[in-house]
């Protein structure tokens, strides 16, 4: 047998380390993609909830809501679909957190960190895989929306830009997910993060305009990063909307870019610090 006793990479220069950080990241992404290909039902499980929500809102509650100022139910589909897209991206951080907790709980992080691979790949690979996963989620949801009769009023390029805004939100929330995933003790606790995610997703403009909510709740909802992204993409899709009373809603596009940057600026360092604390 010509088995090696020592891992063959010996390049400890910066360039060598960057190269391996990328190669190793891709190996982790590959592992995650194999997961998705082998278990396509993952999508059904994870998209089931948002889809049921939107069907309920469009066909049950929506008919009673006047979101466009043109009477109850009018334009609700156009209002709710962008909300559904945004909510799915927002809830995505739970998938990230759950996956991180899982590899921690199962001892994968330990094995990875005892290996010559770049340990950053554990996290970067997760992030890249989650973005790919989110893009597929989004494609499925858009497909469903089109079948139900939703159309974007914006140009093709602008519509594509709106999808990028959605992925930007998802990207920022990956760092939140990694941070939370490293904090919680086990996958059971990670499942309970839904208690955090649910108000975060719902107290927003996703299903109802903040103007229709009681004062303080409306303000919280309007300033929710989820609302900013939802508002920005509604503008792009030219969804009908009542005139908003909140300053931030008037600047939804800028907020949809600034919020994810703020979230990243806070949670990326926190996640890195938490990751380093594993070696304490």
């Amino acid at each position: 047998m010509t088995t090696l006793n020592v891992a063959p990479d010996t390049d400890d220069t910066l360039a060598g380390r960057v190269k391996w950080a990328i190669v190793d990241c891709w190996s982790i992404v590959w592992q995650e993609l194999v997961h998705l290909i082998r278990q396509p039902s993952t999508f059904a499980w994870q998209l089931g909830f948002p889809i049921v929500m939107v069907l309920m809102f469009v066909y049950v509650f929506g008919s009673a809501m006047d979101v466009s100022g043109q009477g109850a139910g009018a334009g609700y589909m156009e209002f709710a679909m962008p909300g559904l897209f945004t909510m799915t991206m927002a809830f995505g951080f739970m998938n990230t957190a759950f996956a991180v907790t899982m590899i921690k709980e199962k001892g994968f992080i330990d094995r990875f960190r005892s290996m010559p691979m770049a340990s950053s790949a554990v996290v970067t690979g997760r992030g890249v895989a989650d973005i790919i996963h989110a893009a597929v989620d989004l494609a499925i949801l858009v497909g469903i929306a089109l079948v139900l009769g939703w159309r974007s009023g914006g140009s093709l390029a602008a519509t594509f830009g709106a999808f990028l805004l959605l992925l930007l939100l998802r990207l920022a929330l990956i760092f939140v997910g990694i941070f939370l995933g490293l904090i919680v003790q086990n996958t059971e606790a990670a499942g309970n993060l839904f208690a955090v995610a649910f108000p975060f997703g719902m107290v927003s403009s996703v299903f109802a305009p903040p103007d229709l909510m009681p004062g303080w709740l409306g303000a919280v909802a309007a300033w929710n990063p989820v609302s900013s992204t939802a508002g920005a993409i509604r503008d792009i899709f030219e969804s009908p909307a009542v005139a908003s009373g909140f300053w931030i809603e008037e600047h939804a596009l800028a907020a949809a870019i600034v919020w994810p940057m703020v979230i990243t600026a806070i949670f990326l360092p926190l996640a890195v610090r938490r990751f380093k604390r594993l070696s304490r």
């Binding site: 047998m1 088995t3 090696l4 006793n5 020592v6 891992a7 063959p8 990479d9 400890d12 391996w20 190669v23 190793d24 190996s27 590959w30 592992q31 194999v34 997961h35 082998r38 278990q39 709980e105 199962k106 001892g107 994968f108 330990d110 094995r111 990875f112 960190r113 005892s114 290996m115 010559p116 691979m117 790949a121 594993l278 070696s279 304490r280």
Partner: protein, 325 residues
């Protein structure tokens, strides 16, 4: 640069978690080619030692070298030369057994083609070839642990760390894993394993180090250790407490070399380490009858880890879980 003849050399390891001294001046020296067993009860510091030696956590004091490199200053050099199978089984249940091994091969930087080739070799070596394309979800405990072991053997590493490799396995699974570890040792891999089980350390290891409260208790060969704690013991429970001295005297004659009987007044029991169980049992039974002493109970017992600790350290272990060895 490598400076040591030892696969693992640790001096005065310290690790504190707030109030807990997980390691408190722990020393370890494992020569190349040896299977070394770290034996100790729950919370003794076994996992902490393994985690320091595999570069997962920083030490608070002392020095440690693995495969010739300092774990603090040259962690990358260490990581290129070791394998780790941790306390939990790190197997990806959603991808096939072969894909698990290929993934780890790539992450050990041996290249895609070599990773595939090595995966097939390992599947063969660990008797998993038939299950290569199945996902480990449906594997038995022993198979999963073997796949886990194989994942840490992508390189035939200089030093392999196994943290409780058989805990939670049924007897068949344990035997499978033992077989696999012996096979690795035969090919020259240095193995450092931790265990709660005396018999496991006895069957697998060339040397056994006993650890408790983060400190070394004793280190010896399995035979030496057994001599110290007695291989088997004979227990005689007296019917009348007045008979205890006579029974103790008679038990001492059956004692294996260098040991003596211990008397438990409360239970009216005399326990003595013996060399040849059946012989001692018949001898003692005959003598009891000759002297007209009646015993309430007479039997052979294997020492539990608790008793071994009592014998070695003069105090019992703190937990109940390990007493059923």
């Amino acid at each position: 640069m490598p400076t040591s003849d030892y696969a693992v050399r640790a001096i005065g390891l310290q690790k504190r978690y707030k109030e807990t001294r997980a390691l408190d001046g722990f020393d370890l020296a494992v020569p190349y080619g040896m299977v070394y067993g770290l034996l100790g009860p729950n919370g003794a510091g076994k996992t902490t030692a393994v985690r320091i030696l595999t570069t997962l956590i920083r030490l608070d004091g002392g020095t440690a070298e693995v495969a010739g490199y300092d774990v603090t200053r040259k962690p990358r050099m260490v990581r290129r030369r070791i394998g780790l199978t941790g306390q939990q089984t790190a197997v990806d249940d959603a991808i096939s057994a072969r894909q698990n091994l290929v993934l780890f091969g790539r992450l050990f930087h041996i290249g895609q083609a070599a990773a595939r080739k090595r995966a097939d070799e390992l599947l063969e070596q660990f008797s998993l070839a038939d299950a290569a394309n199945k996902t480990p979800k449906k594997f038995s405990g022993g198979m999963r642990r073997r796949l886990d072991l194989a994942s840490s053997m992508i390189l035939a590493p200089r030093v392999l760390f196994l943290d409780e490799p058989t805990t939670g396995l049924d007897p068949a699974g344990r035997r499978e894993v033992w077989q696999a570890i012996r096979e690795l040792a035969r090919h020259g891999t240095t193995v450092l394993l931790t265990t709660h089980y005396l018999d496991e350390a006895d069957k697998l290891c060339d040397r056994i180090g006993v650890i408790d409260h983060g400190k070394n208790v004793v280190e010896d060969t399995p035979d030496g250790l057994k001599r110290r704690i007695g291989n088997e013991r004979l227990e005689i429970v007296a019917a009348e407490s007045d008979d205890l001295p006579a029974i103790a005297e008679l038990a001492n004659r059956a004692a294996s070399e260098g040991t003596e009987a211990t008397v438990d007044e409360a239970r009216q029991a005399v326990t003595v380490p013996i060399a040849d169980g059946v012989q001692a049992l018949t001898d003692v039974a005959t003598e009891l009858r000759n002297k007209g002493v009646t015993a309430a109970d007479l039997g052979l017992r294997r020492p539990t880890l608790d008793e071994a600790f009592l014998q070695l350290t003069g105090h019992a272990t703190d937990d109940e879980e390990t007493s059923a060895v």
